[in-house]
């Protein structure tokens, strides 16, 4: 690929659901699986927000509006591929194999000890952009071991201003690593708009400055996300090195349940992006192709809601956070002074 940045927006489905590009090869069951995850993501986001309002959940970061980008960046990965991201990639994590129970524990204020190793997802990142360098190191190890796997890392538009993001692009290019950077450009970093973050008009151009090929993708178009990921994954698996994918999307909700976006967001934005909703667009495509009926769609909504509620019931029946774990997880071989501090706290219980 030429390193001259091409910022043409890659699209397969127009916002109204017409096919405007070539549809990647996906079996009918595959389409329904993608759709199911997107619908699940919307239910997850809305229900987690509601639970937080009821005092039953900790601070939560919404996924609403970004379902296609999140599902698309994770759907084509194998078990041996790695994925890391921030709190905004929670849905992508579940697609990759992190159980909903682990997300509930993490957001619910427990030590997130139930991310299975096989999911190969690092606990979602809080210190933004650090995860991008972890992906580079994981990819370095993949290359060193001669494995055909890939490290994928999600990051927000705001966090691209961090040094770690830029250092990571540079190192990935220098060592020609099998890593894919997915910038979920959702328009905002809390209250700071995208244009106040950088003067470069697309993140693909930023990548070109590091000699990393980039693809600018309609992040609300699940089929474009899948197509772009396929291109990047092929390149990485065949020794072609890193790719940056800019997924242009929009955060339809608040930054987190602690945020009030009416303080800074023009209301007409929501109207504009509401018309670009990723779920509505894909549903039209599936119905046009007779892959989904209204009845099946309604059933799906009920199914994923029931799945979510069942997991919440299990979460709410969890025993209190084990206090001993707080002491046992900091070092593999804790020193005697920590054992004394542990005994002291436990004796007070």
């Amino acid at each position: 690929m030429s390193l001259i940045a091409d910022d043409t927006l890659y699209q397969v489905l127009s916002p109204t659901g017409e096919v405007v590009g070539s549809v990647p090869a996906i079996a009918p069951a595959g389409h329904l699986n993608l759709y199911r995850w997107m619908v699940f993501g919307r239910v997850f986001s809305d229900r987690m927000t509601a639970l937080q309002r009821q005092g039953r959940m900790g601070t939560f970061a919404e996924v609403k509006g970004q379902e296609a980008a999140c599902v698309g960046l994770a759907a084509r990965l194998t078990e041996e591929d790695w994925l890391m991201g921030s709190y905004r990639e929670s849905l992508a994590y579940m697609v990759k194999g992190v159980p909903l129970a682990a997300q509930l524990k993490h957001w619910g204020g427990y030590i997130p000890d139930n991310y299975p190793f096989e999911a190969r997802c690092l606990p979602f990142q809080i210190v933004l952009a650090t995860q991008v360098l972890h992906a580079v190191g994981i990819a370095h190890a993949i290359k060193y071991k001669g494995e055909p796997h890939v490290a994928v890392v999600g990051i927000g538009d705001g966090a691209t201003s961090e040094g770690d993001f830029n250092e990571a692009l540079n190192a990935a290019a220098v060592f020609e690593l099998p890593v894919i950077f997915v910038v979920q450009n959702n328009g905002w970093a809390i209250s700071v708009p995208r244009h106040a973050q950088t003067r470069v008009d697309s993140f693909v151009r930023r990548a070109a400055g590091f000699a990393v090929p980039g693809l600018r993708v309609d992040g609300n178009d699940i089929l474009a996300m899948i197509g772009a990921m396929d291109t990047a994954l092929d390149r990485a698996r065949s020794g072609g090195g890193p790719t940056l994918i800019e997924a242009e999307t929009y955060r339809m909700g608040a930054h987190t349940t602690a945020d009030d976006p009416t303080r800074y967001r023009p209301p007409e934005d929501l109207e504009l992006w509401g018309r670009r909703d990723p779920i509505i667009r894909y549903r039209k495509f599936l119905m046009d192709r007779q892959l989904l009926t209204d009845l099946e769609d309604e059933q799906l909504q009920d199914d994923v809601t029931a799945e979510f509620e069942a997991a919440v019931a299990e979460f709410e029946a969890l025993p209190p956070q084990d206090v001993a774990q707080h002491f046992d997880l900091i070092l593999g071989n804790p020193p005697p002074q920590l054992a004394r501090q542990k005994a002291q706290i436990l004796n007070e219980q």
């Binding site: 790695w82 997130p112 360098l133 580079v136 190191g137 190192a171 070092l331 593999g332």
Partner: protein, 326 residues
């Protein structure tokens, strides 16, 4: 047995690691062809190849952050930061990431890695090359901090650091790289982390030190013995985090007096922690207030001030004598 400098002993330890474990990678700025600015990695790239020993871009956060990923994905990275002050550029990756991954992942992902870096003063480097920021790292939870005082310990501690299941910051005092030689076995051996060593037994006062300050403490102890018959015990802390509290307490319980020496500035330095440990375990053994010999709470001295500002034998001797005043 060959007599090696500390630089040679560490080089030897790295070679042994690269030889016996294919998961070990050695990397950093100028560590390849150049063999490191202190020649500690000399000859390693030639011997083990560019996949095992390599130069990175000049970016410390990148060095440590990618080492975190390598460790998570099954490797045993040994990263070099060229000078300790530049480890502050990678402080975040070290403290919030390397040191926290085990906890944050409920023990599913661990970060067995070593960050080696030169530290300490007395060799007249340009400014900002010798600042002693070790206490900042020792305060991080989930990170071990090691500072050997001699070639034998340096090799054994480095092997133990590679074996350790968690990240270890390995501090190599610049003044010690070539100032003394010691017999160092060619084979792999470990010196345990978290254990101090009594390098000179004594009855009257305990002197706690680490890195190059151990030699200073030994010189002071020998002189006060000769001049005044004072029997000073010298304890080399070796591991700064976690501290060997039992060894500190045992020594003070025996002598009843203590002096703590470090090159770093005083406030919030490791001496404060050692004294707190003495308070907690051995307060009633104390016969005199504990003394600190440190740099003052100002910038690390420029070369023209090193001899005036940094701890010296005379100051350690004076502190020892003060603990013995009636």
């Amino acid at each position: 047995m060959p007599k090696l400098t500390m630089a040679q002993a560490i080089n030897n330890a790295l070679a042994v690691e690269l030889e016996h474990d294919s998961r070990v990678l050695v990397f950093g700025e100028d560590v390849g062809k150049n063999g490191g600015v202190f020649r500690v990695t000399e000859g390693l790239q030639e011997r083990f190849g560019e996949k095992r020993v390599f130069d990175t871009p000049l970016a410390e956060s990148s060095i440590v952050g990618s080492a975190v990923g390598m460790a998570i994905n099954g490797l045993r990275p040994i990263a070099e930061i060229q000078f300790l002050p530049f480890a502050l550029v990678s402080f975040n990756q070290t403290v919030t990431q390397a040191a926290r991954m085990r906890y944050r992942s409920g023990g599913v992902y661990t970060v067995p890695m070593v960050i080696r870096t030169p530290f300490g003063g007395g060799v007249r480097p340009p400014e900002m090359h010798s600042d002693s920021f070790e206490a900042m790292f020792a305060h991080a939870q989930g990170l071990k901090v090691v500072a050997p005082s001699n070639p034998y310990d340096a090799k054994g501690l480095l092997h133990a650091a590679v074996d350790d299941p968690d990240p270890v910051l390995f501090l190599e005092h610049m003044k010690l790289y070539r100032s003394l030689r010691q017999e160092v076995p060619a084979e792999r051996y470990t010196v345990p982390l978290g254990r101090a060593a009594t390098v000179r037994p004594g009855r009257d006062v305990s002197v706690f030190a680490y890195g190059a300050m151990v030699q200073l403490a030994l010189d002071a102890a020998a002189q006060v013995e000769k001049e005044s018959g004072i029997s000073a015990e010298v304890v080399d802390l070796r591991t700064l985090a976690p501290l060997d509290e039992a060894a500190i307490a045992a020594s003070v319980d025996k002598t009843g007096r203590a002096v703590v020496v470090h090159e770093a500035p005083r406030a919030g330095g490791l001496a404060a922690e050692v004294i707190a440990v003495i308070n907690e375990h051995s307060l009633y053994s104390l016969l005199a207030p504990v003394e600190r010999v440190t740099s003052p709470d100002t910038a690390f001295p420029v070369p023209k001030l090193e001899d005036i500002i940094l701890p010296n034998v005379a100051r350690v001797k004076a502190a020892i004598r003060r603990t013995l005043e009636e």
